[in-house]
Subunit: 335 residues, 2 copies
DNA sequence: CTGAAAGCGCTAACAC
DNA sequence: GTGTTAGCGCTTTCAG
């Protein structure tokens, strides 16, 4: 398996450059030569040496992906981002090097060591410490999520503001007059994580646009936190009939708590979940949801990265439009 | 950032090889030269070019990890394997290239393209199609899980047979005489996935060793599947008082179904879960569990891979001993 | 349409 | 203890 491009060239009776060019397609090759070369490649089981290629071309065909590899929150969403990125990368003939999100030194290691052509970073926070270091790298980066100042950066995310607005509007249009948002844990809010704040903004705008009352409660990602949050909502808004839940981990416990408090879904309270479809339909009652298209976001991130690598396209931020799917958990309020 | 080893050599007033050797430590360097070189490296922000290094040394300092990136099953366990592998790899100064488990061509791509020093493959099945291709690769591989014939392969896994035995014995010793195992989905069994079969074998041996009656029921990873499986157990063993659950996804639903059927945990039925600790304590009632030490398994996998890469150690298979942690879900049967 | 050859940046003999 | 240098396998001018 130690076959080199020269072995192939010799076997095909051509020069090494010819082999290189049939591989890259960067110059026209006559049909007969091409065939001889391709045959030799096949018969020898030849694979170009990635390192040699990277050295000569300064392209690695590898993408770095920084993913938050903790176990606590929305693991399945993370997984979908990752698969989205990996499968998309393959369509651009790239492989994926996995870094953990905290490995801030890893960015410089893989970038300055020329191990990757670009970086994709998940789970970006308002003042993410990773963002400043990007400026020192020679490879482009795409952020999944929005930092405080996205100026000059490639960013992609769900349009959470639109998502919050959509969820609120859906409930309002059904006729609900008292609705609540059960959102992210306080810690996430404290970090000013952009998606949480945008969600709240959209929800708030949605309720006021519709002229209904809305309250927002943070919600820890634990059973106790869910119970507590539901109780706070019921205290603040005793006649609440609409609930938007933007916390996948807490979701099952929120539903259980509602049941225990004697609030039936959807007869007493309609629920819109902001989560991936598999989570929405995996509950006892299939939930109306606003999709978090994690897979699509991952794909778009890769497309943006490749656009910058291959065509030096400028940075831009793309917010994907949310989509609401109506299921069994939302109905008009029962008189 | 386009600094090369020659820039460093020039700045330090030494030869390139000297720089190379202070970097690799492969030959003694006098303190003064070493310091001049290290200073130059620091001041220039020099990073060796990974491709050039790989080309010259035929070592990439990258490990391939094939992970099952589906969203359906035990996502959190997969995540823990992955973090275990990634963090362990870093301690060996290696990065991780992520492949999806189905990408069988990816193995040959990264191996024959000399992109990696070794491969780690998760989720190995009895007749895993990936195993035969390993023979054609020049890099060593470590399997997480056990193929039908592990001869000559590096394998690591939890000792599921011991785990099944341990769980059964724990219940039997508490005094339970009728115990059941709710296991993997039928599809997993049909594939003769090794861990599922070993679990069953251990459980069965455990019950017969203890002289208690045990039944085994497969369990789909869905709410309906969990309900169904619990009902089958109750039908087969109406007086069941002990339950071993080896299906993380179904676990919450199993517990809910028990409640609905009027079987209280732990008063009416004791439950041992086979799952990671965070899942065990994340339930309404903290569960006695047999740990799946995913993180440790990932680490061991990397250690085995590096042992083969760095010291050409022979292949071996290592089964990690299970550990049972007693929590609130198991008690002696209530008279 | 094809070849020859100069690097890409580093490692590891081989010198001294 | 340090320097010189021949590759590692590929891409890409520069020449036909």
């Amino acid at each position: 398996m130690a076959t080199t491009i020269d072995d192939v060239a010799r076997a095909a009776g051509v020069s090494t450059s010819t082999v290189s060019y049939v591989l890259s397609g960067k110059r026209p090759i006559s049909a007969p030569t091409r065939q001889r070369v391709e045959r030799a490649i096949r018969e020898l089981g030849y694979r170009p040496h990635a390192g040699a290629r990277a050295l000569a071309s300064s392209r690695t065909n590898v993408l770095a992906l920084m993913a938050p590899l903790r176990v606590d929150v929305n693991v399945s969403v993370i997984m979908q981002f990752v698969t989205g990125v990996v499968t998309a990368a393959r369509t651009f003939d790239h492989d994926v090097l996995l870094l953990t999100a905290d490995e801030i030194a890893g960015m410089e290691r893989v970038a300055n060591g020329s191990m990757v052509d670009a970086l994709v970073m998940m789970d970006i926070e308002a003042d993410d410490p990773r963002v400043p270091v990007l400026a020192g790298l020679s490879q482009p980066a795409v952020l999944i999520g929005l930092p405080r100042d996205p100026e000059g950066l490639s960013c992609v995310d769900l349009d959470f503001e639109a998502a919050g607005h959509l969820a609120a509007r859906h409930l309002a249009r059904l006729g609900h007059r008292q609705i609540a948002l059960l959102g992210s844990p306080q810690a996430v809010l404290d970090r000013h994580t952009s998606y949480a704040e945008r969600m709240i903004r959209g929800f708030t705008r949605g309720t006021s646009d519709a002229g209904v009352t809305g309250v927002v409660e943070p919600c820890e990602s634990s059973m106790a936190g869910a119970v507590d949050a539901v109780d706070r909502v019921l205290a603040a808004l005793p006649d609440v009939t609409g609930l938007v839940v933007h916390n996948e981990v807490a979701l099952p416990w929120v539903l259980a708590t509602l049941r225990e408090r004697g609030r039936h879904v959807p007869d007493d309270v309609s629920v819109v979940a902001v989560c991936p479809p598999d989570v929405a339909v995996g509950q006892a009652l299939p939930l109306t949801n606003v999709d978090i298209p994690a897979h699509a976001i991952g794909r778009v991130a890769v497309e943006m990265a490749m656009a910058r690598v291959e065509r030096s396209e400028p940075a831009e931020t793309r917010l994907l439009a949310p989509m609401l799917v109506e299921r069994a958990s939302t109905v008009a309020p029962v008189r």
